[in-house]
């Protein structure tokens, strides 16, 4: 790499290749009072990229509620924190690794997992669970199958090796993701509140420590690269791929947690080196505390020879952390990390002014105001335009359910509906021996050891709904997550999110972003689930075609007593069956629409937040008063699928008699649950919910009678088809 002179950078507009506009470059000049040199231009390009500065999304993120009575830390740190009582708190965050996964799925997914784990332990929390959210192209494409296989392997291998259970996730398959698949990971940690850490470097003379793996030329410009669109040509010219080293991360994690737990007195701040590596971690730590720093790049552990400052600062080599340590305690830190076979190197000191100064080979190679780098990035509100497709007639698609049993069998084998067991059995979901509800039910449940409490967690988003109506779709994403938490016996606490969208320069995409975040904000207010952390991934386009708007919602809920833990599977024969919530003819955007017409079109059905909240309350109360044996939320595929799924685990059948057309069994009206209730609680349950029984559990068949068509299915046969469909289609 040739380091151009400042004049050459200006003349050749090098900054444009790095994603800075001319106006932004002018602003840098103005802030510095001179032309930036090569290194400095690189620092600004990275720090002012969408990925680091959220310059296009910040105004929209402001809509999110971020505070609440139990919220100890909202967005802005490595991860958000929520008090769960007894002096403990839950910490969680989600992160996207879409572009790296598209290029190199195994390592892209693995390093995505590694990165999000670092965010959690940098807060002083011990990671207790991982979840994912995966969106790929249709399964008829060989490359897509390869991407899925490798992505799943990468997620699994990293989590399995480091010893964090991967307990849940979601997966959809749509053509729009073929060239730009999405890989989002979410990590949840547990914290003793006293240990809460901040990523700040304060106090002149304090030491900056680099710990973990050496720096190489991998992932240079990763942040910039994540802030640009994809096309065929770029495919070949990727900067070096990052390789994950979960063993190194395990050692770094144990060392950092030891430092935080047992040496808090000497630790001033800690932050992981994620996007834009050394520059973003160090500059953010300084800016947050209002201090500058001197860094000596000669001391940065290096894996390759001859790295220039630009490369050292922007490398995204994995498994590295930055610490600020009280002066005088260098030896203690070095010793501690050596105990964990990990390198800790002092690379700089905190300054009392706000200058951020880099030295190499005895020369100053960059000297900028740290606030300029971190806080002065421009913020844009882009033009937005309502896409024409949103004004389609509601004109109804009516499913054909005349061959009811066949239709249900086909729906059960759609990849989005079919069991994900062939995926999640590649994840160690049990390590740490706290997983009391394994993948396969609505939300995964992790007990809090030593208490009678547990945490429920889920990831959700239905991009089809957002495609038809980004505003309501945004509301539904949050509502569905909450529904899954409630169905598992929990009280929703808060959410993290990954906003995966196309290019914000496209007014129609910007409109989607605006509307989706608006909808999410409204839903978060309704359920009192503030947004405590998140991540934005824009420019998800391939050859000019944007993905569906895909805001992944990761929600955690508190289960206040282990007695409330509830799963979706039927437990006994002879229990009564109920649907909580009203069913309507809601078919646009549904699985059955896609299956029978090959399209997603029309006006999305109505959705009402208040109804949703009311129904969730009823179910919550029913669980807490011990009235139910199982609860399953009704989502993709509708009532028929929800009931079928409930029969599978224990192979207990059901007989239903519903007063509606058979096609409505596949309606995806929101705000509904299937509940099984022991006969002894019939009166109490009906009094509480006002619901009428629609059948009962028992036998080895699933029998449904409707106003027009009836069906009968052998549970074992249906289960086998549902269970094996995905693995089959992956072959």
């Amino acid at each position: 790499m040739i380091e151009l002179q400042p004049r050459e950078i200006e003349a050749q507009k090098l900054y444009e290749q790095w994603g800075l506009s001319e106006a932004e470059f002018d602003k840098v000049q103005e802030l510095l009072g001179r032309l930036p040199n090569f290194t400095e231009t690189g620092l600004f390009a990275a720090m002012w990229s969408e990925h680091c500065a959220y310059k296009n999304s910040k105004p929209l993120l402001k809509q999110f509620p971020t505070t609440g009575k139990n919220i100890l830390q909202g967005p802005g740190e490595g991860a958000g924190i929520i008090d769960i009582g007894d002096g403990q708190a839950v910490v969680f965050k989600a992160e996207s690794h879409n572009h790296p996964t598209a290029v190199e799925p195994y390592q892209g997914a693995a390093t995505g997992v590694g990165g999000i784990i670092r965010d959690i332990f940098s807060m002083g929390a011990r990671p207790i669970a991982m979840l994912d959210s995966l969106h790929f192209g249709s399964l008829d494409d060989a490359h897509t199958k390869y991407l899925i296989d490798q992505t799943v392997a990468g997620i699994g291998d990293y989590g399995n090796c480091i010893g964090i259970p991967t307990v849940g996730g979601e997966m959809t398959f749509e053509d729009v993701y073929q060239g730009n698949p999405l890989m989002n990971g979410m990590c949840v940690g547990l914290l003793d509140s006293v240990q809460q850490q901040k990523g700040a470097a304060a106090g002149a003379g304090n030491l900056i420590f680099y710990v973990g793996a050496k720096t190489g030329r991998d992932g240079i410009q990763g942040a910039i690269f994540a802030s640009a669109e994809f096309n065929d040509e770029q495919e070949s010219q990727r900067s070096a791929v990052q390789v994950g080293d979960p063993f190194a991360e395990k050692m770094v994690m144990e060392a950092c947690l030891d430092l935080i737990e047992n040496h808090a007195d000497i630790l001033v701040g800690i932050q992981d080196m994620g996007a834009a590596g050394l520059v973003s971690s160090s500059a953010e730590m300084g800016a947050k505390a209002g201090f500058g720093m001197d860094l000596n790049l000669d001391l940065v552990p290096q894996r390759e020879d001859g790295m220039i400052p630009y490369e050292l600062m922007l490398s995204e080599s994995q498994e590295r952390m930055l610490l600020c340590i009280k002066k005088g305690y260098a030896a203690e830190v070095i010793d501690l990390f050596n105990q964990y076979e990990t390198e800790a190197v002092e690379i700089g000191t905190v300054r009392d002014d706000q200058q951020y100064i880099l030295h190499q080979h005895g020369e100053v190679v960059a000297d900028v105001d740290v606030k300029a780098l971190v806080d002065e990035a421009p913020v844009y509100r882009k033009p937005s335009a309502r896409p024409a497709r949103l004004d389609q007639p509601s004109a109804g698609f009516e499913p054909d359910a005349s061959k009811l049993a066949d239709t249900l069998m086909s729906v059960l084998q759609q990849p989005a509906i079919a069991s994900k067991e062939s995926v999640y059995r590649r994840y160690d979901s049990q390590v740490q021996t706290n997983t009391i509800v394994l993948p396969g039910s609505d939300a995964a449940v992790i007990r809090v050891r030593g208490t009678n409490k547990a945490l429920a967690m889920t990831t959700d988003a239905n991009p089809r709904y957002l495609f038809l109506d980004p505003h309501q779709g945004g509301q539904i994403a949050v509502a569905e997550a909450a529904r899954n938490i409630v169905a598992s016996g929990g009280v929703p606490l808060g959410i993290t999110d990954c906003l995966n969208f196309g290019s914000p320069e496209d007014p129609e995409v910007y409109y989607e972003l605006e509307q989706a975040t608006k909808g999410m904000s409204e839903a978060c207010r309704q359920f009192e689930t503030p947004v405590i952390s998140g991540n934005v991934s824009l420019y998800n386009e391939f050859n000019g075609e944007a993905i569906y708007p895909t805001p992944m919602v990761g929600m955690v809920g508190l289960i206040e007593s282990l007695d409330y833990v509830t799963t979706q599977s039927f437990k006994n024969s002879g229990d009564l069956l109920y649907v909580v919530g009203e069913t309507k003819a809601d078919f646009n955007g549904t699985e059955i629409q896609k299956m029978q017409t090959g399209q997603i079109e029309g006006q999305l059905f109505d959705f009402d937040l208040a109804t949703e909240a009311a129904n969730q309350q009823l179910v919550q109360q029913a669980i807490r008063t011990g009235l139910v044996n199982s609860v399953h939320d009704i989502s993709e595929g509708g009532l028929a699928v929800a009931v079928a799924e409930s029969t599978f685990d224990n192979e207990i059948g059901a007989q239903l008699n519903v007063d509606m057309p058979a096609s409505w069994l596949f309606s995806e009206t929101q705000s509904r649950f299937v509940v099984s209730v022991p006969a002894t609680h019939q009166a109490a349950f009906e009094e509480l919910t006002g619901a009428q029984a629609i059948g009962q559990t028992g036998g080895d068949q699933l029998t449904i009678t409707t106003n027009d068509f009836d069906m009968n299915l052998d549970v074992k046969t249906a289960k086998k088809a549902w269970k094996e469909a995905l693995a089959w289609q992956m072959k």
Binding site: E104, A213, G216, D218, R238, A240, V241, V243, D245, E304
Partner: protein, 86 residues
Amino acid sequence: MYSVKVYVTYKASILDPQGEAVKTALHRLDFTNVESVTQGKYFELMIKKTGKNIDEQVEEMCTELLTNTNMESYTYEIEELTTVEG
């Protein structure tokens, strides 16, 4: 019949945690004179002679399947076996 050997390693700039782990272990076993270790993959293939050019075939197998050209590089050796083919 050809006997083909393919060697695949990470490109020079890519982190090789496996090689590092082996190096550390060798040092611990007192082989301190080991300066560097790269761990890669090794394939032995037996390939029937056909009308097609064997070099081109192997080249294609390497780029299509045996290596991940994003991060790995490969070399190979082709030896024609003189035994009579069954």
